[in-house]
Amino acid sequence: MGELMMGIYVFVLATLAGRELITKVPPTLHTPLMSGANAISGISIVGALVVAGQASGTTQTVLGILAIAMAMINVVGGFMVTDRMLKMFKRR
């Protein structure tokens, strides 16, 4: 099985798992879910680190650094703001 096919398998199965997990999140947590998921999409930091680490030439370096900065805004900002929100949810 080629790498692409393997990736597609993983993608499809992860999507199905995600569907099962997320349909059970109550509406009251939909905003934190969204900002938390948002932070997770900052996983592109991994790709950014790979390209920045192996960059040759100015253009590639600049693109890499920019990608890292953007992804880190997403990661740090996303997880922090989600935590700030979740801290406020209290029971009676």
């Binding site: 995600g18 999140v25 939909h30």
Partner: protein, 463 residues
């Protein structure tokens, strides 16, 4: 254990922790821990990447990480809860932008040589999805922040133009890959492709009006996940594919819930240029008599009720009146009134917007009820207090000829008394008059929600 195996194991643990973290978001009790777990998973993935890849230049990585962390951290601390929709929109955009940049850098690293294989195709996909997510999110941010009008921005043959751009990109993509099979892809072709993706993102979001933003924000959230997955395919990394797919699924489910909350298809939201108060027939508004009441009268009605349901809407967020509302609810409860909150799925500008605002004001989450949970109770309720909501309580939704026909609404008109706190009789986002305002058992309480709430606090104390 050799180094590359260790890196793979770290990635695997990271993917497992992401899943477990999301799992914990299923209850407010465990949610905070779940978020922390996901953050830890991210740290593991970053460490694994730095261990597993040859790094030529550390300073560049350091600069990027420092700048990004600083900006993200400050923004997360400073943002007001009422501004959360635009904040999430902005973060979304950066996630998509990062994925697009990864794709662009990979294009250059491949020596501008794209061929018709998974690498070539996923690079173009990464640019397309990442680019649309980035520019679309920036427009959504500008609209929510009030930098752009919240009304739909339309021009003739808009959907046709969008379709042409999309088909043009497909052709350009085929051309890019086809050229690459023989010689290096001209950077110009690649640049045009990238610019077209950014343009498409802008054009797709400008015709979408303010109250449809929950759908757009959810959809862009989904795209940012798909963009991350695409980046995963490009560099052959499973943890990116998995986490991206989880986010993609999350955004898609929220999108479906939001569409269902308005009884509209995704296509209608995306291409219908619905609503906006710009082209409303105002001639009929205010011609019919309404009963208006002042703070003293409203305080009496509320204080002597047995049961009250509060229906918050976007107006509550605009007026930042959530804390005053909490005080009103507390005072009523001290008098023995049963106070609950009914939250419509599309109230506000993003999924769960009202819940976060009320949580900020220390309203316990178990007093908040969904539409399905509470809708049958309105008929048994003494007083409903509608604060800055309009379309979601408009009985016109029951009329098959209405612009909002079939939209699930909160049946507030069935309560014994309805109090509507609003600045004027102007229609809501859908641009249609609300029959609720003119009913015999409705009291209009005009004014700014925050001021009115403060007045209510004073008056209820004096009852």
């Amino acid at each position: 254990m050799n180094a590359s195996l260790m890196v793979e194991v770290l990635y695997l643990i990271s993917a497992i922790l992401f899943v477990m973290g999301i799992k914990r978001l299923q209850s407010p009790v465990t949610a905070r821990g779940g978020n922390a777990l996901a953050a830890f998973a991210m740290l593991l993935a970053i460490i694994a990447t730095l261990l597993g890849n040859e790094v030529l230049s550390w300073w560049g990585i350091l600069v990027g990480v420092l700048i990004g962390s600083l900006v993200g951290g400050v923004a997360a601390r400073m943002v007001q809860m009422t501004a959360m929709p635009q904040m999430v929109g902005l973060f979304n955009g950066f996630g998509g932008g990062a994925s697009a940049l990864v794709a662009a850098a990979e294009f250059l690293r491949s020596g501008s040589h794209l061929v018709v294989d998974s690498h070539g195709i996923t690079i173009l996909l990464g640019i397309l999805i990442g680019g649309v997510t980035f520019s679309g999110s920036m427009i959504a941010f500008a609209k929510l922040q009030g930098l752009l009008t919240g009304n739909p921005i339309t021009f003739p043959a808009q959907n046709f133009v969008n379709a042409v751009i999309f088909l043009g990109m497909l052709a350009l993509g085929v051309l890019t890959l086809g050229v690459g099979a023989h010689v290096a892809t001209p950077p110009t072709l690649f640049t045009i492709f990238s610019a077209a993706a950014l343009l498409l993102g802008i054009l797709l979001v400008i015709p979408i009006g303010g109250a449809d933003m929950p759908v757009v924000i959810s959809l862009l959230n989904s795209y940012s996940g798909l963009a991350a997955s695409a980046a995963g395919f490009i560099i052959g990394n499973m943890v990116l594919i998995i986490s991206g797919a989880l986010v993609g699924a999350s955004g898609l489910i929220l999108t479906q819930i939001m569409c269902k909350g308005m009884n509209r298809s995704l296509a209608n939201v995306a291409f219908g240029a619905f609503g906006g108060t710009a082209h409303v027939d105002r001639s009929q508004i205010g011609k019919r008599p309404v009963r208006s009441a002042d703070a003293e009268q409203v305080a009496m009605v509320l204080a002597y009720a047995n049961s009250v349901i509060v229906v918050p809407g976007y107006g509550l967020a605009v007026a930042q009146a959530q804390h005053e509302l909490r005080k009103v609810a507390d005072l009523l409860e001290e008098r023995g009134v049963d106070v609950r909150f009914a939250i419509h799925p599309v109230a506000g500008r993003m999924p769960g917007h009202m819940n976060v605002l009320l949580a900020e004001a220390d309203v316990p989450y178990d007093k908040l009820y969904d539409l399905d949970e509470i809708n049958d109770d309105f008929a048994k309720t003494d007083v409903v207090l509608v604060v800055g909501a309009n379309d979601v309580v408009n009985p016109a939704a029951r009329d098959p000829d209405s612009a909002i026909a079939g939209m699930p609404i909160l049946d507030v008109d069935k309560a014994k008394t309805v109090i509507i706190m609003k600045r004027s009789l102007s229609p809501g986002f859908a641009g249609i008059d609300n029959a609720l305002f003119y009913m015999d058992h409705t009291l209009m309480f005009f004014g700014d929600a925050k001021r009115s709430m403060s007045d209510l606090v004073r008056e209820i104390r004096e009852v």
